[in-house]
């Protein structure tokens, strides 16, 4: 390898430039024109490959909490340490003051409660210190009442959300409530009775191997013992029945996509109420909707009648789909589809480009709690080009449609709906 006049190996050039870009990209004030320049720099395949190769090394070198906490710089600098200690003492004193003023004193003035709120907003340290004191004082219920009367609920958006969440959780754990012992005994007896009833009701499910059921806005990804990845859509139900001789997954409702690990000794079977779809090592999806649709993205899948592996079969290759409806009277035939696009939901994205607003809304609505309602028939029939949206984000799609001229979007919080109209 020949080196340039600076002693650098020329083949290192893209890596050195990539390292420089990585440092530059950390600047919070980096001008957007430099970000555009970085993007153009990556258009060269050599540069892009160097950047991607360097990224894991960069991430490996990032400071972790353990590394930073053991940083000697702060610990060795007495001035920094002193200042920190002073500040902590001050925060403790302030927290104690507010606690006794607003929690212990039944006649707290409204103005004091407002000042208290302002003090809380200043820093998460203040919230943390107050929680510690409240827990020691055993007065979490009182704290809750005081904060509510200071209109805390309206103001909590301005607090660091995590601190608010911790505060709320601590408030909900009432450490001071005293429950009469007779109620406690009744509670225990009731819980035992419910437990016994549940045991009888759910006994069949205990004997089944791994049932996974999802509701609205719920998706589930899992890897099975053999390495097969299963992606379960919202509103779906799947049952795993693996044995030494067979790998069977029952799709009882909804949709699932399978990335099947190769195991020639044990074929993989996705079983539905109508068909069995058998594969050795492939990627395919099964969907139940007034029938069964099997879509193959990679490899080969053999579809037969349920529990009839050796019966008449339809073989599907990549890019093919077979739909068997519940009332099928004739033998179904495979059709060509964009299988990667159809199964894209398993990766968390939906490609709704080229679809009418109504069809796109349907795709999102059948998966999510938040529903999109299209008020205008002309808007419903319109095709809006959008980039792929996250499968759990109907809001993103609605915003994209609302960006079209003349379209209005209203979020109906009360009913969990997004209304689109012209």
């Amino acid at each position: 390898m020949s080196n340039d006049t600076c002693g650098h190996d020329p083949s290192d050039r893209p890596f050195r430039e990539a390292a420089r870009w990585m440092m530059r990209l950390q600047r919070p004030d980096l001008p957007p024109r430099l970000l555009v320049r970085w993007s153009k720099w990556q258009e060269s395949p050599e540069n892009r490959a160097a950047f991607e190769a360097l990224e894991p090394v960069w991430r490996a070198l990032q400071p972790t909490r353990d590394n930073v906490e053991s940083t000697p710089a702060e610990l060795n600098d007495p001035a920094i340490f002193e200042r920190k200690l002073e500040r902590m003492q001050l925060v403790s004193e302030e927290a104690a003051y507010w606690y006794f003023l607003c929690i212990d004193d039944p006649h707290t003035l409204r103005s004091d409660r407002r000042d208290f709120l302002a003090w809380l907003r200043r820093s998460p340290e203040n919230i943390a210190e107050l929680l510690k004191i409240a827990q020691l004082g055993g007065k979490l219920r009182k704290l809750k009442q005081t904060l509510r009367s200071a209109e805390f609920a309206d103001a909590d958006e301005s607090l660091p959300w995590r601190s608010t969440h911790k505060l709320q959780r601590a408030l909900d754990e009432d450490s001071t409530g005293s429950i009469p012992s007779s109620f406690k005994l009744a509670g225990i007896a009731a819980a035992a009775l419910v437990g016994v009833v549940l045991a009888f009701v759910t006994h069949p499910y205990w004997e089944s191997k791994n049932i996974i059921a999802t509701g609205a806005s719920q998706w589930h990804n899992m890897t099975l013992a053999d390495g097969t990845a299963v992606h379960i859509d919202a509103h779906s139900k799947v049952e795993i029945e693996y044995t030494d001789t067979a790998r069977v997954v029952l799709v009882r409702a909804g949709s699932a996509v399978f990335d099947v690990a190769k195991d020639p000794k044990r074929p993989f079977i996705a079983r539905t109420h109508l068909v069995d779809a058998m594969a050795v090592g492939t990627r395919f999806g099964v969907s139940i909707d007034d029938g069964v649709t099997t879509t193959v993205a990679e490899g080969v899948v053999k579809v037969t009648g349920r529990d009839n592996v050796n019966g008449n079969a339809v073989t599907l290759k990549a890019g093919e789909e077979l739909r068997v409806s519940d009332d099928a009277l004739t033998a179904p035939k495979p059709s060509q589809v964009d299988a990667q696009r159809k199964l894209q939901w398993a990766s968390g994205l939906l490609d709704l480009g080229g679809m009418t607003v109504s069809a796109a809304a349907q795709e999102l609505n059948r998966r999510n709690r938040t529903q999109i309602v299209v008020d205008s028939p002309t808007l419903a029939a319109r095709v809006v080009e959008v980039a792929s949206v996250k499968v759990d984000s109907p809001e993103s799609y609605a915003k994209a449609v609302a960006a079209e001229p003349g379209v209005k979007m209203i979020f109906d919080e009360e009913h969990g709906r997004i209304r689109l109209s012209e």
Partner: protein, 165 residues
Amino acid sequence: MTDHSARIKALFDEQRARLKQYFRLRLSSCSDEAQELAQETYSRLIGPHKEVSDWNRRLWFIARNLANDTLAQLQIRRKANSLLQVDDEDPRTPESTWSEQQAAAAALRAIDDLPERQRRVLTRFREGCSFEQMARELGVHERTCRRDFERGIVEIQRMIGLERT
């Protein structure tokens, strides 16, 4: 379908991978979080639009500000968690955590084989030290620290690459 929405879609499709890369680097975040932020960038880009002369620059302007805001929120959250002695939520999967741990272990082994100044700079970087602080400690210019870091990281990548072959 309007020209505007088609144009924005084309731009976003072209830049999506780089946006995700940018967010991963700025926020040390996992792929899912980076994807969410990329999606949010798109949502803000297609919002009520005025005539913009350079949509590419507008896209990166939004992305940079979103990264800054998210980083600020993350830092507050981490600080609150450390005060409450609670572990930060880790959105990564066990597989990605394991592979990152392997990469980190390989990088640490490689650091030991670097020349002294590069080794010190990279070690201090891992401890969260800024280049300015490093320069003061080492008695050199900040530019020298950055150059040593650049050479060190490239050398580590080369050593890890050789280790794999």
